[in-house]
């Protein structure tokens, strides 16, 4: 499949793929889990504050949509095991312009990742504040003129965390698969223990029922909460990041990503159900900074240890997630520059440390600005989550459209995993399976985007403004380099796919792919 060309092709030597690491099944799973598994530490308090007695339902609804998104990512990541993620799939399916839109939405999310998880990490550090300095973090809240509820200490802590991340990333660090695996495994056990012990010894079904019955949110809050719940699943992109660096991704990724999707879904629904059966939702709303640690602290037998342990794990794992925002922004800009979506200028390396210094500084500084501005609003976490939801839902819609389009435009690439629920239809004389779930998922994410625009005052202005800003840059860059703005640059996807499958050591798929291409060429010859 070749995209229509309207301009000079990008030199093939420019499109190079990174060397693959020998990431194991467990390592691949933990890579994602360290990223996505951390989300509940931030999302629990935030969603509870709006979804109130219906928090479990909200997590279940958002989670169901997330599962469909996960299915789409699993299919695309195992079929195209490269690190570009959503924007890459969009670019392949829909062309350069939509690839740019998906890329800019994701870039917005990575900058928010940096800010949101730095704020979250600082929130869990603050769990120890009363024990260390004898004051609660809330006691530092001040008002400046018309702005109320500003917490300068929490803001400062978050900025220090981002500052540390900028420094270590400029000096150059390697994402440690071993560290991720270790922390992820400890976190998995700790979260599981809290849930199991919580349901066994602390959970009161009558309390859950009472909150459901008497504390059901208004429609506005329900919609707001369900659109925020999507942040429990931040980091889906890590599935495709892992694909790039895992051996035999087509065999491994479907298993690790499906396990990741369902694990995170089970955790999100379990934590909210447990939380509502143990404490009033107002407690979580009041402790948005460290809701999991607070919940763990109340569990009989293990609370004394589980509370501080959850706080330490929360602070650490959210720090790593914030760092993955910095690194992912850098990976994404590299990927986008390879395909002529943004200038390679972004990827210039530091003369001494050989790290992509411009990307690190620019996108981390955007994270800094977002952090400062969010602390000027009544709830920093809420504001950041608000903006995140816009970027994520826009990016996911494009991924769903790309999924459907690629089933038709690139039926030759073998798909070791397919989104379930397909109907076979004839298209250009060839049997193609149309993904019904792709359409349902697209409508589901579309609903979330609609909710965001309808209910998120900041998200509906800041999100589109960011995309417009990026579009202005895109037009300038593409015109300057003689590339079409709405058209696509010529890409030799077939050669690239062969290269990708060979480097992934997916020989079975490689043979399938070559066979499908040979068959197609034979048919074309027959027609001629």
């Amino acid at each position: 499949m070749k995209t229509n060309s309207t301009s000079a092709p990008i030199p093939t030597q420019q499109v190079k793929h990174e060397l693959r690491r020998d990431v194991t099944v467990w390592g691949s799973f933990m890579w994602g889990y360290a990223d996505v598994g951390a989300d509940i530490y931030v999302a629990l308090g935030l969603v509870m504050a709006y979804a109130q007695g219906a928090a479990s339902l909200v997590f279940a609804i958002a989670g169901s949509i997330y599962i469909m998104i996960g299915f789409a990512y699993t299919e695309l990541s195992s079929a195209y095991p490269v690190a570009g993620g959503g924007p890459y799939f969009t670019l392949r399916g829909l062309g350069d312009f939509w690839g740019f839109v998906g890329g800019s939405a994701l870039l917005l999310d990575y900058t928010i990742d940096i800010a949101l998880f730095a704020v979250g990490s600082a929130g869990y550090i603050n769990f120890f504040m009363p024990y260390v300095i004898g004051r609660t973090p809330e006691s530092f809240v001040i008002s400046i003129g018309p702005l109320h509820g500003i917490n300068p200490i929490w803001c400062l802590e978050s900025l220090i965390i981002i500052g540390i991340l900028i420094m270590v990333n400029i000096r150059g660090i390697k994402e440690s698969s071993v560290l991720n695996s270790f922390l992820g495994a400890v976190d998995l056990m700790a979260e599981s223990s809290v849930i199991i012990f919580g349901f066994l010894f602390a959970w009161k079904p009558e309390m859950l029922a009472s909150q459901w019955k008497t504390q059901f949110p208004s429609m506005h809050n329900f919609m707001y909460g369900s659109s925020l719940a999507i942040i429990s699943f931040v980091g889906l992109e890590s599935i495709s990041q892992a694909a790039q660096e895992t051996k035999r991704p087509a065999s491994i990724i479907p298993r690790t990503s499906l396990t990741l999707i369902f694990t995170v879904f089970i955790f999100a629904v379990s934590f909210s159900t447990l939380g509502l059966g143990v404490l009033p939702w107002q407690n979580f709303a009041a402790r948005m900074g460290d809701p999991v640690a607070m919940l763990a602290h109340t569990i009989p037998y293990i609370g004394l240890i589980a509370g501080p342990l959850a706080a330490i794990l929360g602070a650490t794992i959210l720090f790593i997630s914030s760092n993955s925002g910095v690194m992912s922004a850098s990976r994404l800009t590299f990927s986008l520059s390879q395909f002529g979506i943004i200038s390679p200028w972004f990827h210039a390396v530091h003369p001494k440390y050989h790290t992509p210094v411009r990307t690190i500084v620019i996108f981390s500084m955007i994270g800094v600005i977002q952090t400062i501005l969010s602390f000027l609003t009544p709830s920093a976490m809420d504001t950041l989550g608000n903006m995140y939801a816009f970027g994520a839902s826009l990016g996911y819609i494009l991924v769903f459209i790309a999924l459907i389009k690629l089933r038709f435009s690139d039926p030759y690439t073998p798909r070791p995993y397919k989104v379930p629920l397909n109907v076979n239809i004839k298209y250009k004389g060839r049997k193609t399976s149309f993904p019904i779930l792709g359409v349902i998922g697209m409508l589901g994410v579309g609903t979330i985007l609609f909710e965001v625009v309808l209910t998120h005052t900041i998200g509906r202005i800041a999100g589109p403004s960011w995309i417009i800003l990026c579009f202005m840059y895109y037009v300038w860059y593409r015109k300057r380099d003689g590339y079409p703005v709405f058209g696509s640059i010529k890409h030799d996807w077939e050669a690239e796919q062969i290269e990708v499958l060979t480097s992934a050591e997916e020989y079975d798929l490689l043979e399938q792919y070559k066979l499908a291409l040979a068959e197609r060429d034979k048919k074309r010859k027959e027609i001629k």
Partner: protein, 185 residues
Amino acid sequence: MQPQVTLLGAIIAIVFATSIGGLLWWMLHPPAQIQPAVAKARHAVGAFKRILVPTLGVAYSEKAIELACRLGTEQKAEIVLTYVLEIPRTLPLDASIPEGEAQGNEALERGKAVVELHDLIPILRLERAREAGEGIVKVAKENEVDVIVLGIRPSWHGGQNIWGQTTDILLKKAPCEVIIDKLPG
């Protein structure tokens, strides 16, 4: 907080632990890796989209048809069945030989029944040639087949040519792979 155990809570805890444990177990048991040579071999057979089987309407020919069908089932291959009517050099190639034609059509119809049992598409060709081998090669070329499956007679009387003339021509001139199936004599 005072511990409080409820039946529902205990059930949820067990379901939770089982679900997470089950998911992790499934994840940690992926299929084994396929080596490049194995993958090539696997897909080389998968590449048989059109299979030619010469038939004489005898048992070993029909077994070859069955074999071809099983080779082609997974990829829904087309099965080209041919009966080559050998015309003596003393007669023109288009000479009428009603008895031979009837025998050929009967053999092809029987072969067709075997193919249809497998839900595959049969293509029937009654070919005229001076030598059966030459006729088979011609059909193979015209139909661009990927492989020829040839059943040969089980008996061998100790002569030098174990294959017979048809097989010999096929092995020398066939434009594609040839699979020979010889029943024990």
